[in-house]
Structures are given as structure tokens and as C-alpha cells.
């Protein structure tokens, strides 16, 4: 049995969680997920300003902090912290280790970045059609900032096979971080579809960190103990593809069949075909049992052969947006907020500003649930203590969006009464980076695995 822990569900997750995973109990592998789609674009912007940048600096700081513990406890780390510059990330980690006089073997998995090859692909008739809309990438080619392939677990397992104590990847499928140590330790083959699918589902269960150990859990949420010290998830994996999801003893949170079900259903499509680079997993075959306190056992998982494609995510710029907010107070808070929205829209019209979209929401009335929530009941509405007016605009034209940001604050003095600007100042104009999901034949790209210090 091996223990694979997750200590980071996204970039911006708890800085303390990975430290606790290392120090509060036994684990063999620590996986860390830093890359949301939007993260790649942020890293791209950082690298444009500084060629040394482009990876998750938080990761390097973490390693500097816990490296002695990792060595003492023989814990190996797998992280997609490399972002768009895995080699830069590796060098920073090696430098941090050298400062502490610690020798550590660090591997990189690269080759996922296909930005410079896009024109060549398009020329050869690989259209990289949008998986949702079927449009060819050529439609937005001029706006494309970057494109990456999602690799699977085998190159990561290969890096572990070379003796890496820390594996830094660029883009790989999230679940691959968890599957890779199973492949490495148990010798699973590329055609062990059921076992690979089990590893993928284990990865899916823990890749969002504490969202499986009682975080964001609807069932009896008020009784979930000690969320302040919530334990992050650990997979206890067996060579036959069965596994348990659990957390360190003494930590907060709760691992139950209910908490696990919520996470299994998170961000999936057709449950019978969860497509990954390594296999197609079938979520309708999972059997769950409460195997003990804070311990859920997974059995019965089946899967099918992988497809011949890798998924590609390209990012492209798609105009500008800005969002402004004001809070209106009792009496008739909602009525005032709606009146202010009308006034604002009239002013934008008088200024001759055109937008692709103008969206108004009323926080405190029905913003998040919107139409399914309906309008506040007539007997309640005039008495709402406060309602936040939230208006967003989107346009190709930066100047129009910029002008919009100047029209929010004046409403405090020249619109309906009883209003505060929330202390937020003028809204920020943001460039929109949108995403283009596509497929590419696996034969077109090859993952590259390198280790440092080198094997020779």
C-alpha cells in the first residue's frame, strides 16, 4: 500500500495544507495542483515581463520550507508547478536546496507547450477545432496567446523511475499527478485500463484538496468538526486498483460517502466516459463503502482504452471587462438599486458607449441563484437592509470599458440616496483571456522527461 496526499487544490489554496500533510502523519507522495486554465495566462503575462518567471513561486517557497522534512521522511513530491517554465522552476528549487546544502533529484516533464507550433499544425490541416463550437482555431489565431497539451501520468511515472524526488511538470491532466505513483510503484501497464481508471478516479477524488474531506460539503455542514484545521485528502492505494480516501488522524473535517460523492460528481460530463490521456474511466462502476471513521473505500472501478488524442487548451484574448458595485440601504434598498441601474444605463447611452454585454445583478436580492430564486416577496422587499448593485460590461473597445468605470462613483452623489461605494474605489479594467478546448493526435507531441543532477 502507498499513501498519496494532495496538499493543494488550486493556485491560491491554503499555504499551510502541504506542510500539515508532510508533518501530521505518514505519506509517501505529496501531489500539488497549481494550474487552473486561467493560471497559465497569468504565468504567461509574468514571463513576458521577466523571462525567469512563469512558474508557481509559491511552490519554490514551500520546498525551501519543507525540504529537510521531505528528505527525513522520504516523501516524493509531484507538482504541476512548472506552469509555462518548468525548467526555471527546477532551477529555482535546486538553488533553494543548494542554499540549505541539501542534495535533491529534480525531474521535469515538458513538451506540453505547443504555442510555437500552432501555425505549422494549421498549415498541415490540423485545425484544432473548438470542442464546444466546432470552429477551427484559425478563427481566433491572431488573438491566441498560448496553447498547451494535457499529458497523462506515464511521463511522470518515468520521472519517478529515474529516481526523481521532486517531479515538476507543465500541463498534465490533474488526476495524472495521483495516478503516476501508482503506475511507478505497482508496475501498471499502459493497457491496464481498469487499474488506470481506478487511479484516475482516485486523482479526481483528491485533486480539489479539502473539497472531499468536508470542505464545501452540504450534508450536515454545521456539524463538520474543526474546519479551521481541516485535513487534506490522502489516498491509500493498493496494487489491485482498490483504494481508500482518508485524512490524517487528529485533523478537522470529515470523510464520508456523502462528502466523497459530492467530489466525484464535481466537474464531470458523461460519467460513463471520463476521458483522460491514459484511459476512459467509468464513474458508474465505482462502489463506495464507509470503511471506518473518515475513511471511504473505493472498489469495482472499470475503464476502457484511451483515445488517440490529447486535449489542448489554447488561451486567446477576447476584449475587456470591468465590474462596478454600490450598496444601497433601507428603506427600499432594492428599489433604489434598480433605479440606479436604470440611470447608469441611460448615462452610458447618452455617452454613446456600446458594449457587447451589460449585466446587472442585485446581491442580497437574487444575484447568484437568479431566475430560479425569483424576486424577493413583496412583503419583504421594501425592508431588505441592503442590496448591492453590481454592473459589469464587456467590449472589444478598451476606451468604452474605461469610461464605464468612471460612471459608478458619481452615482453616490448624483443618484438615489442611502448608498455607499463599498470602499472599493474605481473598478479595474481587465483584459479577458478566454479558452479554446481542442484535440490533437497523440502522435503530434511527445512528452520529454529530464532529471537533474543528470543520470550519467
Amino acid at each position: 500500500m502507498i499513501r498519496i496526499a494532495n496538499g493543494q487544490g488550486f493556485w491560491g489554496d491554503s499555504l499551510q495544507a502541504p506542510v500539515e500533510q508532510i508533518r501530521r502523519g505518514p505519506i509517501d507522495y505529496l501531489t500539488l495542483d497549481y494550474l487552473a486554465e486561467v493560471t497559465m495566462s497569468i504565468l504567461q503575462k509574468q514571463r513576458a515581463r521577466d523571462p525567469q518567471a512563469g512558474y508557481a513561486r509559491d511552490f519554490v517557497e514551500l520546498i525551501a520550507r519543507v525540504l529537510p522534512d521531505l528528505k527525513d521522511r522520504r516523501i516524493r513530491v509531484i507538482a504541476n508547478a512548472g506552469g509555462i517554465n518548468p525548467v526555471g522552476c527546477r532551477d529555482a528549487v535546486l538553488e533553494a536546496a543548494a542554499r540549505q546544502n541539501i542534495r535533491v533529484k529534480v525531474a521535469t516533464v515538458t513538451g506540453d507547450d505547443i504555442t510555437d507550433r500552432l501555425d505549422q499544425f494549421l498549415k498541415r490541416g490540423i485545425e484544432l477545432k473548438n470542442m464546444d463550437t466546432d470552429e477551427p482555431l484559425a478563427a481566433v489565431r491572431a488573438q491566441v496567446e498560448r496553447a498547451n497539451v494535457y499529458f497523462g501520468a506515464f511521463p511522470v511515472a518515468q520521472a519517478l523511475g529515474k529516481g526523481a524526488e521532486i517531479v515538476i511538470t507543465g500541463r498534465v491532466a490533474d488526476a495524472a499527478l495521483t495516478l503516476a505513483p501508482m503506475i511507478h510503484e505497482f508496475g501498471w501497464k499502459e493497457t491496464d485500463w481498469d487499474k488506470l481508471s481506478a487511479g484516475v478516479i482516485a486523482g479526481h477524488a483528491i485533486e480539489c484538496g479539502a473539497q472531499v474531506t468536508g470542505g464545501n460539503c452540504q450534508v450536515d455542514w454545521e456539524t463538520i468538526p474543526n474546519l479551521a484545521d481541516i485535513g487534506y485528502p490522502i489516498v491509500e492505494a493498493e496494487p489491485d486498483g482498490t483504494f481508500c480516501v482518508t485524512k490524517h488522524a487528529g485533523t478537522g473535517g470529515r470523510v464520508t460517502v456523502a462528502s466523497v460523492k459530492e467530489q466525484l460528481l464535481y466537474e464531470i460530463g458523461d460519467p460513463t466516459q471520463y476521458i483522460t490521456p491514459d484511459c476512459v474511466a467509468d464513474f458508474t462502476t465505482v462502489q463506495l463503502d464507509q470503511a471506518g471513521a473518515d475513511r471511504v473505500r473505493f472498489t469495482g472501478i472499470r475503464g476502457r482504452p484511451a483515445t488517440n488524442y490529447y486535449k489542448v487548451s489554447a488561451s486567446y484574448t477576447a476584449g475587456y471587462k470591468a465590474i462596478g458595485s454600490l450598496v444601497y440601504t433601507w428603506p427600499n434598498a432594492y428599489k433604489k438599486a434598480r433605479a440606479a441601474d436604470q440611470i447608469l444605463r441611460q448615462r452610458l447611452g447618452l455617452l454613446g458607449l456600446r458594449f457587447d454585454a451589460v449585466r446587472t445583478e442585485f446581491l442580497g436580492a437574487n444575484a447568484c441563484h437568479g431566475i430560479p430564486a425569483g424576486e424577493p416577496a413583496p412583503e419583504i422587499e421594501p425592508h431588505l437592509p441592503e442590496v448591492v448593485l453590481r454592473v459589469g460590461v464587456r467590449s472589444e473597445n478598451r476606451a468604452a470599458v474605461e469610461r464605464f468605470t468612471r460612471e459608478i462613483a458619481p452615482l453616490v452623489l448624483n443618484g438615489p440616496p442611502g448608498v455607499s461605494g463599498l470602499g472599493l474605489g474605481r473598478p479595474r479594467v481587465e483584459e479577458i483571456v478566454a479558452f479554446w478546448p481542442a484535440l490533437i493526435p497523440k502522435s503530434e507531441v511527445r512528452p520529454e522527461v529530464a532529471i537533474w543532477p543528470s543520470e550519467s
Binding site: 460530463g269 458508474t284 465505482v286 431566475i371
Partner: protein, 105 residues
């Protein structure tokens, strides 16, 4: 037949993929699952999110988990980074679905 709100019978989690929202709806007790299968059809969900979900709604069954998975297409004002919504990733569509009233035996 009595009316019940889904929140009394099920829990849920939602997330995004581009302009699509998925909502996993899970029976709180095994005996609730057949009721969910019968009552919470793709059409009912489309109707519940009328004006929010502009595209089709697909439904998948996971009897092993006592759960249904709904895919709401064109439901996020363009999705993640493009959307102007307060909930651009559809995280609260789960509880929005639990507002639905259904007939129970």
C-alpha cells in the same frame, strides 16, 4: 401526492467547463433516488433554469451513487473568465437546483 423541495431529499455540487455547468444531484437516502429519477428530468431542469440556461440540458444516471448528473449548456454568460456574473463558475447552481419542488409519493 405531496410537494417537497429537493433540498429535503438530495444534496448537490456544481462546477463549470467553459460555458457549461454540471450539477451532480445526490439522493440523501437510497429510497429517494427513484423519486429523483422520475421527477427531476432534463426538461424539468431546463424549465427551472429558464432564462439562465440558453442551451440544452442533458441528464446522466449514476445508480451506483444514487445520483444524477446534469449538464447545462450555454449557462454561464460565456463562461469563467468571460462571464460578468457574480458566480462565473456556476458554484451556486447546485443550491439553485435544490430549490426545485417535486411531487413525492
Amino acid at each position: 401526492m405531496a410537494k417537497r423541495k429537493l433540498i429535503d431529499l438530495a444534496h448537490a455540487r456544481s462546477g463549470d467547463k467553459g460555458d457549461l455547468v454540471n450539477i451532480g444531484l445526490i439522493a440523501l437516502k437510497p429510497e429517494n433516488y427513484p423519486v429523483l429519477v422520475r421527477e427531476v428530468t432534463a426538461d424539468r431542469v431546463k424549465q427551472h433554469f429558464a432564462g439562465v440556461c440558453k442551451g440544452p440540458v442533458e441528464r446522466f444516471e449514476l445508480p451506483n451513487l444514487g445520483a444524477l448528473n446534469f449538464l447545462l449548456h450555454e449557462a454561464l454568460d460565456g463562461g469563467g473568465t468571460v462571464a460578468l456574473k457574480a458566480d462565473p463558475q456556476g458554484k451556486t447552481y447546485s443550491t439553485a437546483l435544490l430549490r426545485m419542488e417535486i411531487d413525492v409519493d
